[in-house]
Amino acid sequence: MNRDGHDPLDAMSSEFIAEIKDDLASLEPALLAMEKKGAGTDDDLINHAFRSIHSIKGGAGFINFKELSNLSHAMENVLMRVREKTLAINSDIVDALLTGFDKMKLMVEQIGKGETCDYEKEKTALQKILNPDTGISKPGKHAGLTEKQGKKPGESAKPVNSRQKKKSRPISKEIWDDPVEVVKPLGISPVFQGKEFMVDKKRLDHALSSQKFIYAVYIRFEADLRAKNKDKESIVDDIKSIGDILFSDLEQSRGQKERDGFFCVISTILDLPLLSQVLEIAKTQMTLVDRQFTDYETLMKGVASRAAKDKPEPVPKPVKTSITEPDDTLVRGTSEFSPDSFSSTHTLRINVDLISRLMNRAGELVLARNQLRPFLTSNAKENSLASGIMQNLDMVTTDIQQAIMQMRMQPVIDLLGKYKRVVRDIARRISKKVDFILEGADVELDRTILEKLANPVTHLIRNCIDHGIESPEERVRKSKPETGTIRIKASHQGGQVHITLSDDGAGIDPQLILSKAFEKGLVSEDRLDKMTDKQKIDLIFLPGFTTSEEITDISGRGVGMDVVKTNIESLRGRIEIDSVKGEGTTVHLIIPLTLAIVPSLIVSTGEFKFAIPQVSIKEVLYLEKGAVRNQVENIAGFEVLKLRGHIYPIVRLRNVLGIKTYIKRPVTGEKEEEKRKAIADRRQQADADSDLSERWQEKDRRTHHWDTTYVIILKHGENLFGLCTDELYDIEEIVVEPLSEYIRHLECFAGTTILGNGGVITVLDIQGIAALASLKFDSIRSEDAKRNLLKEKEERLKGEKRNLIIFTSGRREYFAMELKNISRLEPVNPKDIHYTGHLKHIEYKGHAVLLFSIDEFLPAVECDFTVKEIFAVFPKHLSARVGILTSGIIDTIETDMFIDEDESCPEPILGKLFIGDMMVQVIDHERFADLIEQKLMMTKGARASRENTDC
């Protein structure tokens, strides 16, 4: 089929194509949601999908794109049946719809390339769905054909009326042969009861595709015309000035005495209240007609099942232009799929270039504001107006800047949403079962970033399904749920967006990665056993790690990961992988919110200023004279900073960048180049190797104080290091511009920017600085990990903090129990102890409670009852209330001391502690409780005191 007369470059067409693309975009999630919900799909969803496809059809018709129009029509038919509930949704139907959708997308992309698309396959698939049910459509016939209106396929190519080439093309001539359509007024107004109007099909379609409202209006001769001094002609002119008259029975009504007015059907972009105002006709005399219903009627005429039903339920509302008002039928959504999320409300289509330009200008505005600031601030003293103006300017600028930033922001669902489809398709293709969960869909990211994320994320997801998630059988074997899960979570964290992609698949085997990398010669032999698992996994980022044979060899990831990493890093983002073999893999992407404006700290070294992005600054220290000496240590010529028990490597910006500094000789005032490389160095005689020719270059020579310095603790990923600079300035919001290509190879700079005073400075790249200073975090990390492991072990030994109560039993024998195991302490008067045989009791709330002393359980000196006050300790977690007699409570202490376990300890003693000059035996509550229970059993067995056990 050819698109006769179709001019792809037509400005109008491009508008329509843009709209079709939008409709397509909103169609896909709807289809996917339908598949998920199956038969339970609610009407809103179907209606939404239906509306999208209908608009596509309309748009395609308008630009005379027959293939698209026909295909969308076929899809519409299927959806119609679904809506009608004569067709239950299943995967096959959605599959057919999706392939149709894909073809449509392809078609739209190929518009203007002069290629024709063969869509017979898709159409046949769609027809197959309809066929078994209705039995009326024959192969090769258009699915939308009804018996009454049927045409042979050959006729479809017949040239269309050229008169209306541009303006009002019929949607698809071959389908809509009948130029007249019946429209029914909606609503309950008695005026329109039972009315139907015959409307010219072409004009109606045109009105529909240009998103106009179609109204039926009743105009009364008396009230609306004569009373307002109008005649019939003038009202017709009025209507024509705001729209188009599709139908009017003015002629028929002429001379009919019983008629007090005439009907007309008009199309206009005005909404009902406005229309009423313009025409001066009461709102009750006008109503919308149901356009969808029109289509529906015509289409369904031949379907037998249609006969019994009267009206489709619910009556769909006409599609309204998104600008006029939100479509409230869409507002009701479900948690999983909300049509509202993609129905545009109060939106305006704006060219991205325009926004980019606006963005640049906003950047310049910020710049201009910054330039103006010092000037106005200095004027503030003389002129009180100045500060007010400054404040106002500040506010407006910030507001504009934010609004424009917002404009560029897009929710991540715009990107991540489409992966639902990707996941589904890939999983289906390689017959794996995968669930896709998206969290944090409303997190917003700069458009540019979002666009650049598409490739890496697609790659990661493909890897997830391909290599991560196992086949259903294998999953069952591993006693995992048959369906794998891929979870994408987006969240804001500290001015950055974190996107976490995790699966519960096979994970990455670090050993396998390592051996692969070794095979490829990417790792040297001597590093082999020194690497941590994380380092091994990180090997997959190495360029060259990816070749085709590995895809099958490795059950983890590693295909083109270097590209992913480069992509993410070009966004000034980071990527990290965590994987547990057999349990799954998590990929973290950490991405800046926006590329454009970065709050940065301005620092200087010598006479040069630099900007450091605020996100990479952890803290800023000012080291004074004494502090430098105390906190900075020199290890083999390299400096480290001691801070709160940690040691950070220090990098001097001047050394890294080769900035020369000068010292002023106090006596002569002479300046000479500073030779010391580190603070802790002694000053040396000037070396002869100084570049004399460059010395005069530096004009601003000044006294330099080695004694005081600013240390900026920078973080790059998990790594921290200090950067020494001479001065700190403000934090400014800078507009970062990329480095010009002549200096782009300098990795220590992330970009350049213009300061408020008009000066150009460079923005430091933290990673680049670290690399330049040869900070090898990677190699340290494994050491760190080892040390951490040791530390952890130690800590575990140390045990958690314990609250101990220390008491004595016999003389100079000390015991301790954990406070958390004791319900209460009670002073006991030795006289109140009642004895039965060798058992001791006291009365407690009318009951007798057994008392034991420590020496009854373990070898200890007999409890000393002769002291003034004895206490009973009541341990918790016993089957009966039992008190332990002590001859004194010494103290309660909190300790995390390691309790020395000792072979010589008797059974219920955990270990020994030395507190002050006491040796305290810490009682292991569990074992002690066991002993008490045994004792109780024995007493019970002896039937010594039945009532005592009761409690």
Binding site: F608, S740, I743, I754, G758, V760
Partner: protein, 135 residues
Amino acid sequence: MGVDILDIREIIPCTRVTRIHLAPGFVMGLMNLRGRILTILDIAVLMGLEKQGKNSHSHIIVFKNTNVGFAVDQIGDLFDTGREKIESIPVNIDPRIQKYSDTIINLPDGVIMILNAGKIIACIRTEARALKEDL
């Protein structure tokens, strides 16, 4: 030396050029020209000319359609010349200079070499790219 005036967007006084540390020698620094960042290149270094004592760049020639400026010591004169006076560059000139220039003007009081802005920029571009690949 001379430059075709039609290649030039503007000539600005040389003020406040920010030095870029670790940049190749021919990059003098960056400069703010009405909100645009220009990369200033030192033509003398590029052509391997001897530095004459102190650097005294007085002006910057900004070329059309680029964000590149050439620092020059002095702006001499502006004059019209006939096409017939333009000749090819003598072959014995240092190839380093020939890379950047292909014509000279023969004037009564001396010969002026005409720099080809497009050639220069293309050369530096490849050089910068090579530097990047080295890393």
